[in-house]
């Protein structure tokens, strides 16, 4: 069933615009007269990072596996699940791109795979993380700067997805942008905010999606932040964490960190990520 299959990994560090990108794609491909329901996205998503789905398919209680064992098994699980897939499949992931102990990409190898990688100024990410996880700003900064060497080797509570950030912000972005296993297109969150139509159109072109400019404009309109905030106010948003201290669609601004982070906190982020921040135009 590989004929017209295309698997698109929607990859990002957490709180960098991944959900917004999915909403743009859903509103582009599946909206009718109304914006799509944020709690019931019609975007086809092969459930290759869903623990419950994989457990059902393999009969393995994956919570009994260590992280490196899950990474070893994921390429095969993904291959089996994608064998049933036709058409487009969009998979959100916060995984850093990595190889398992067999030197296989944990995402598997599939010639139809492509990736959209969304990146956002890490200083804004730190503020957003703080609201999302209900933690202090210092902890948000620490999370962002934590290297793979200092992250705990195993999960300490049940989580319903396999994807996991096992490195810091720079390592995460570089892992995707420097891998050569699948074509990857970079989107900056700030460009999506400032120039949504042209930035989104470039991503659509990368995916070879045949759509009209009117459809793109409508998707951008339907995915505007005030639309998303209104839907969240009306019905809640299921991806909002229980520990969050603010709505999921909170501010949707670029550069808001300057009024929130102390000079010392901002400096710690810049010190840790200076080369990549400069390369991506954040400095």
């Amino acid at each position: 069933m590989t004929g017209n299959r295309q698997i698109v990994w929607l990859a990002s560090y957490p709180k960098s615009g991944n959900t917004w990108l999915r909403l743009l794609l859903a509103n582009l491909l599946y909206a009718d007269e109304q914006p799509v329901n944020i709690n019931d996205l019609p975007l086809p998503e092969p459930r290759v990072v869903s623990r419950a789905t994989m457990d059902r398919m393999t009969l393995i209680d994956s919570s009994l596996l260590l992280r490196h064992e899950v990474d070893l098994l994921r390429p095969d699980w993904t291959r089996r699940m994608l064998a049933q897939q036709s058409g487009h499949g969009f998979v959100k992931t916060h995984d850093n791109y990595r190889l398992n102990h067999d030197n296989e990409p944990i995402f598997g190898r599939d010639r139809t795979m492509r990736a959209l990688y969304v990146v956002r100024d890490p200083r804004d990410v730190a503020v957003s993380l703080t609201h999302h996880y209900g933690c202090t700003l210092d902890k948000g900064v620490m999370y962002l700067n934590e290297s793979s060497a200092s992250i705990g080797p195993q999960i300490k509570r049940y989580v319903n997805r396999f994807d996991d950030v096992l490195c810091n912000w720079t390592e995460h972005a570089r892992s995707w942008l420097e891998q050569t296993d699948m074509p990857v297109h970079l989107l900056r969150y700030e460009d999506l905010l400032a120039e949504p139509v042209s930035t989104f159109t470039a991503a659509i072109d990368f995916l070879d999606l045949q759509v009209t400019p009117e459809a793109v404009a409508r998707a951008v309109r339907f995915s505007a932040f005030d639309q998303l905030q209104q839907q969240e106010r009306d019905t809640g948003f299921r991806e909002r964490l229980k520990s969050s201290t603010a709505p999921f669609f909170r501010a949707g601004r670029a550069g808001a960190w300057s009024g929130v982070l102390s000079a010392e906190q901002a400096r710690r982020i810049v010190d840790a990520h200076h080369p990549l921040m400069e390369q991506l135009g954040y400095l």
Binding site: R51, R56, T58, D61, L64, E69, L72, L73, Q84, I155
Partner: protein, 298 residues
């Protein structure tokens, strides 16, 4: 070999299991667990190459760790893979392999932990991650006693009355729950080396192997913060919900057990109350949730 009692079965096992030992063995064990060659590859009808079901056998593999053949409802052969050791294989024996065995024996097995209260059993069901074990540990701190951690077999006696058969296991809790519930002193070894999920000793060293089943509680997670609620389920809704809590449901379907399980649940329902507990699984809410549930259970 040691003999254990789990889910009403006497298990004679070459693997040293974290289960209640059988009190006295009279006659033969119901099940033998032993090391043997388990061939590869599996060529089954299933689209998953790591398991297959035939008339008499279930084959199940966790690549890099262990392969099992569960035969004729009374034999579990296992072969380790790679550098795995016996301790690595045990959790998979006590989950999927045990599930296969129970379905081969045509038993009604729910994915449920259990507690006892006033000499009767209460089963707590729900999908992985919904907080069953944490709620059970919290109920045990509020007057209930542990009866089982993960699998509850329900069997009816000659009068038709349903009994819950304990899986013989202690609490198994994630590090996070142990910390939040202040159970560090009772924390035992990890379920597997390296895993941050641990055996936790119950408050009482021994507990009954079976008790009459009084209540089944279905746990459902609320995605938004809200006050938890307990409500009774009507039989038709309870029927549908309990079919979704069958342990290892894909195996039950492959072994053509669904019809029988439906009949077994239908025969159980007139004897028990089925409650639904909708809760937002924050530790801060746990005490209130337990109190609210206990009001319905008393």
């Amino acid at each position: 070999m040691s003999i254990y009692l789990a889910c009403g079965l006497l298990i004679d096992s070459e693997l040293k299991l974290p289960l209640a030992p059988a009190p006295v063995l009279t006659g033969n064990a119901d099940v033998r667990v032993f090391r043997d060659a388990v061939p590869l590859p599996f060529h089954g009808a299933s689209d998953c190459a790591n398991w297959e079901v035939t008339d008499r056998q279930v084959l199940f593999r966790v690549a890099g760790i262990v392969r099992f053949v569960i035969s004729a409802a009374r034999e579990v052969r296992f072969e380790l893979e790679g550098r795995a050791n016996d301790a690595d294989a045990i959790p998979f024996l006590l989950s999927t392999a045990l599930g296969a065995l129970l379905h081969q024996r045509k038993l009604l097995a729910l994915h449920a932990g259990a507690v006892s209260l006033n000499g009767q059993a209460i089963a707590l069901c729900g999908p992985a991650g919904v907080g069953k074990s944490t709620l059970i540990a919290s109920l045990c701190a509020s007057g209930c006693e542990l009866l089982g951690d993960d699998v509850s077999v329900i069997q009816r006696d000659a009068s038709g009355r349903p009994w819950l058969l304990s899986d013989g296991r202690h609490h198994q809790l994630w590090a996070d729950s142990i910390e939040q519930l202040h159970l560090t002193e009772r924390q035992g070894p990890p379920i597997r080396e390296g895993l941050r999920k641990f055996h936790v000793a119950p408050a009482k060293a021994t507990y009954p192997a079976s008790l009459p089943l009084k209540t089944i509680v279905l746990l459902r997670g609320l995605s938004q913060p809200a006050r938890s609620r307990v409500c009774p389920l009507q039989p038709a809704d309870a029927m549908a919900a309990l079919m979704r809590t069958i342990f290892c449901p894909s195996l039950a379907t492959s072994l053509k057990c669904d019809g029988l399980l439906f009949t077994q649940i239908a025969a159980t329902l007139p004897w028990v109350q089925v409650l639904c507990l909708d809760r937002h699984s924050r530790f801060q809410n746990l005490t209130n949730d337990v109190q609210r549930l206990l009001e319905h259970l008393q």
